[in-house]
């Protein structure tokens, strides 16, 4: 079976402080995977290191069996909302249009079909009426939907999302999950950092538990989720 993301012996440290130790991962194509772990477990770092946004000390990362450089346009990254300056002068449409940047060369201007894809993406995430609005006037949920629209325009096969449900309203959370489920049903792979253990089995079908090391991973139906989660959230040193 091909893996959407396979990781071997990934080690990352910030200023001499190790955050990830010899982490392995094998997330299969077509699943919707939750990355779960306590605060400071290295969930975001894991994503960032895999996408080469953070320097890694050791480790090999493959996407669809190939190096990231070979499949970059197939991978969409949705950063944490907090990582962005939401006072930036940019409209919803422009953010979404960014998803088309770099697909056929970085210097190419957006074409008619790019704008059509943007309109469709904004329709899907329910932001069509707001396309001319500056992002500073959006609610938290609308901001997250804007990000999702940008990734939709990119037409990626693997979606990597860093805490997509952080600080969004219930309605947006439902809308986001619906879109992500549609993507999964059309064969895409979703990997998301997730915090809410209540919704975990309802939203996701694959679990990757991490706490500086890989605690466990697998399809949720094959795992005893409670046990895995307990193990991941146990104080370091007590986990076997």
């Amino acid at each position: 079976m091909t893996m959407a993301l396979s990781v071997r012996d990934l080690t990352v440290a910030y200023n001499d402080r190790p955050v990830l130790w010899d982490v392995d991962a094998d997330i299969p194509v077509g699943c919707m995977a939750a990355i779960v772990g306590p605060n400071g477990a290295g969930k975001s770092t894991f994503i960032k290191a895999a996408l080469e946004l953070t320097t890694r000390l050791t480790g090999e990362v493959k996407f669809f069996g190939q190096s990231l450089a070979q499949v970059r346009t197939r991978v969409a990254y949705v950063p944490q909302r907090a990582a962005i300056d939401w006072d930036f002068p940019i409209t919803v449409e422009e953010v979404a249009l960014m998803g088309s940047y770099g697909q056929r060369g970085w210097l190419r201007r957006p074409q008619h079909d790019d704008r059509k894809r943007v309109a469709e993406a904004l329709e899907i995430v329910g932001l069509a009426p707001f396309y001319k609005r500056p992002i500073s006037q959006l609610s938290g949920g609308q901001q997250q939907r804007t990000f999702l629209a940008r990734a939709l325009v990119q037409q990626a096969d693997l979606w990597v999302l860093d805490e997509p449900f952080q600080g969004v309203d219930a309605e947006t959370e439902r809308a986001l999950v619906t879109v992500l489920h549609q993507l999964k049903n059309s064969g895409k792979t979703i990997i998301a950092v997730h915090h809410d253990l209540q919704t975990l089995p309802h939203y996701f079908d694959y679990l990757y538990a991490i706490n500086a090391r890989r605690i466990a991973e697998g399809y949720i139906k094959d795992l005893s989720v409670n046990e895995v989660v307990q193990q991941a959230f146990a104080p370091v040193g007590m986990s076997a």
């Binding site: 346009t73 990254y77 002068p89 960014m98 940047y101 770099g102 210097l107």
Partner: protein, 280 residues
């Protein structure tokens, strides 16, 4: 009546105002406002060294200033990344070190028997009256390609300013883009030195961008407005200083742009509260 001397000053001021105004938007939106100040202070040793080797050719002086500015930025980035010092500490330190070295070199040059009045002090405080047609040619010949590069590489610059991590994930090293942008900014700062001077140049980079912010919903719009404000300040500053003999050009341009920035925000606040009141 506008004579040829004044015309040169006006043209040079307009080009520098427009360039620094529009590129300053990148610095402000990247939250790098202070870095412009570090670059302009860092250019001084470059000016002095270029003078020692190549004499007073403006092209070489600008090249020297640009190189020193880029070295200054590179050192700031390198030290911040490899030590635990915070970026504001490193910038403050670099600014002083480079400026100090520059002053030492300039003083040394002033005292050389061969140089006499080299006029390099103009690079510290600016001296628009000394600007000649040759300077205008150099400024135009370098400024036009810079604006073309910004226009052509717009998707990259746009994404870089808004979300550099995302751009990095898409395969463009934000370090390389950063270096390119800083190079362009350093060239513009270097070209502005003879008019505005190293001490005030960063204000001309930041103030028009700040003035443009309340009236822009897009970055491209903000760059055009800021460039326009910079250009207008250039003309008006040059005219005021020519009408009143004791008023210097560079500081007047900077002062105008800062006043416009303040007024712009006061007016924007008025507008906002009026809109809220009418909505109630």
């Amino acid at each position: 009546m506008i004579d040829s001397v004044l015309l040169v000053i006006i043209i040079a001021s307009v080009i520098i105002g427009a360039l620094s105004g529009s590129l300053g938007v990148i610095m402000v939106l990247r939250k790098r406002s202070l870095l412009g100040d570090a670059i302009s202070h860092a250019t001084l040793p470059g000016v002095a060294i270029a003078y020692l080797f190549f004499g007073k050719d403006p092209l070489f002086l600008i090249a020297g200033a640009t190189c020193a500015g880029v070295v200054g930025v590179a050192l700031v980035v390198l030290i911040t990344n490899t030590t635990r010092l915070r970026v504001d500490v490193v910038m403050g330190m670099m600014l002083a070190v480079f400026f100090g070295v520059g002053m030492v070199l300039l003083t040394y040059i002033q005292k050389l028997p061969t140089t006499g009045q080299a006029g390099l002090q103009a690079f510290i405080f600016g001296q628009a009256a000394a600007v000649v047609w040759q300077d205008v040619y150099v400024i135009s010949a370098l400024g036009l390609p810079i604006m073309c590069v910004v226009g052509i590489a717009w998707p990259i610059i746009h994404a870089f300013c808004f979300d550099h991590a995302w751009l990095h994930a898409r395969g463009l090293s934000s370090f390389v883009v950063d270096l390119g942008v800083m190079f362009c900014v350093s060239v513009v700062i270097a070209m502005g030195l003879p008019i505005v001077g190293a001490l005030l140049m960063s204000a001309l980079l930041i103030a028009p961008a700040i003035a443009a912010r309340p009236w822009s919903t897009r970055m491209s719009q903000m760059m055009i407005i800021a460039g326009g404000i910079g250009a207008v300040c250039g003309v008006v500053g040059a005219l005021i200083s020519s009408a009143y003999a004791r008023i210097p050009t560079g500081p007047t341009i900077v002062f105008l742009s800062v006043v416009i920035a303040l007024l712009s925000h006061v007016i924007a606040m008025r507008f906002r509260s009026a809109r809220i009141r009418s909505a109630l």
